[in-house]
């Protein structure tokens, strides 16, 4: 036979159960996600709570730098705008900036292409269907599809006989 607890005690017990569960889950989540800084922790929590948004002001600065072909500045601004690396458009533009910096007439820069590949992979991971196409024609991008850009980056990172041809351009055919 169960004892009947006074209402106030039952309320405290219910609050205790809820608080313990929420706090316990939060601690387990912190140990699983392993944030390195308080800012990272805040971003990860915002993503988890579905309230994460890109910093519009930083994104606009990045876009302006991108249009002015100041790709290093653009990368920094885009990275600051999307610290959790969750926005596909921002990640695609970071990848495009690295691609623009790494693409060469004689050879491609492997470091820039590797960084671009990481960013384009993050872009595709952040999309629900694993596919992304940017719809802003004013940017004058060589590749508007993330999959096509990734393929181009992969080809650029592979060592092929064409890499030793000084007359061949490093770029492939754009879709």
């Amino acid at each position: 036979m169960e004892a009947v607890a006074p209402r106030s005690v039952a309320v405290i017990q219910a609050i205790g159960i809820a608080a313990t569960l929420v706090y316990g889950v939060a601690i387990a989540w912190v140990y699983v996600t392993q944030p390195r800084t308080i800012a990272e922790l805040k971003n990860a929590a915002a993503v988890q709570a579905n309230v994460y948004t890109v910093d519009d002001a930083r994104f606009a600065l990045g876009l302006k730098a991108f249009r002015d072909r100041q790709y290093r500045i653009a990368i920094n601004q885009f990275a600051a705008a999307d610290p959790a690396n969750r926005d596909p458009k921002t990640q695609f533009l970071i990848a495009s900036s690295h691609y623009a910096l790494g693409k060469g007439r004689v050879y491609d820069d492997d470091d820039e292409f590797a960084a671009a590949l990481v960013a384009v992979d993050r872009c595709l991971q952040a999309t629900p269907n694993g596919s992304y196409t940017i719809d802003d024609a004013s940017l004058g991008l060589e590749y508007t599809s993330a999959e096509a850009l990734r393929e181009r980056l992969r080809q650029g990172l592979e060592v092929t006989p064409g890499d030793f041809n000084p007359f061949a351009s490093g770029t492939g055919a754009a879709p």
């Binding site: 039952a10 017990q13 608080a19 706090y23 922790l41």
Partner: protein, 252 residues
């Protein structure tokens, strides 16, 4: 009301905070956070210690925590508190055990032997908490004062000599892990919170029970007469008859 608030809200939150801080480290040089999961050995030590808590009476599960005579809500709340205590216990070992393999093994074996020994001796809950606090504090000092200063980065000649000496004595098996001093502060806070949690979870002291424990623990200090009276009381006999019997035995 206050007791309910303490047992169902404050206590589990204190224990969970101790659990959170137990695995928190700050890496040099940027004070980046690292949340270190507890090694398997700490689970074994934690289990042993919780058994010791139950055996010493610090946690009397059926009397104070769980049972059919309690409401479902109370059982659920108490069950969660006990789970939080177990997790906090594991994490406290995670905090105070050195991360170097050699010292980790030494400390873990030391803790295990002390707990194993305590399983077979009668121990009062408050004294168990005191001895545990001393043990954990010793491990804390060894890890965060001695080993941390020994393996702290820097160009001190004395430190280099000591490091070489320790590595030489241990045949190079000691590889110190250097964390920022903030790690020690958070570990100490976790340790203090864990002890607060234990104090909150322990049953209220009964002076009569304490006196009885002291009497039985040091029965050799009792006179023959007092011992006879005590035994008579246990047997349910009248004290006078026991005293007469004791005097007769004494005279023969």
């Amino acid at each position: 009301m206050n007791v309910a608030l303490r047992q169902h809200v404050v206590l589990p939150l204190i224990l969970l905070t101790a659990a959170l801080l137990g695995g928190l480290r700050f890496a040099l040089p940027d004070l980046e956070m690292r949340f270190v999961a507890p090694p398997l050995t700490t689970l074994l030590l934690g289990s042993l210690l919780v058994v010791l808590y139950a055996r010493s009476g610090l946690l009397n599960i059926s009397r104070d925590w769980l049972g059919v005579e309690r409401t479902t809500l109370e059982n659920a709340s108490n069950g969660l508190t006990l789970a939080a205590l177990f997790i906090a216990t594991i994490q406290i070992f995670n905090a105070v055990l050195p991360e170097d393999t050699l010292f980790f093994s030494l400390f873990a074996v030391g803790f295990g032997l002390v707990f194993w020994n305590n399983l077979f001796v009668p121990v009062r809950p408050d004294r168990l908490v005191k001895s545990l606090a001393g043990l954990l504090l010793a491990a804390f000092v060894a890890k965060y004062v001695f080993l941390a200063s020994l393996f702290a980065p820097g160009d001190s000649i004395t430190r280099s000599v000591l490091q070489s000496l320790v590595r030489g004595v241990t045949l190079g098996t000691v590889q110190g892990v250097a964390y920022a001093p903030a790690t020690g502060y958070t570990a100490f806070l976790g340790f203090a919170l864990y002890l607060c949690g234990l104090w909150l979870a322990s049953p209220p002291r009964d002076p009569d029970a304490d006196r009885l424990y002291d009497l039985l623990a040091s029965s050799d200090r009792l006179s023959q007469r007092d011992r006879a009276r005590l035994l008579a009381a246990f047997r349910g006999e009248t004290v006078d008859a026991a005293l007469v019997e004791s005097d007769e035995e004494h005279s023969t």
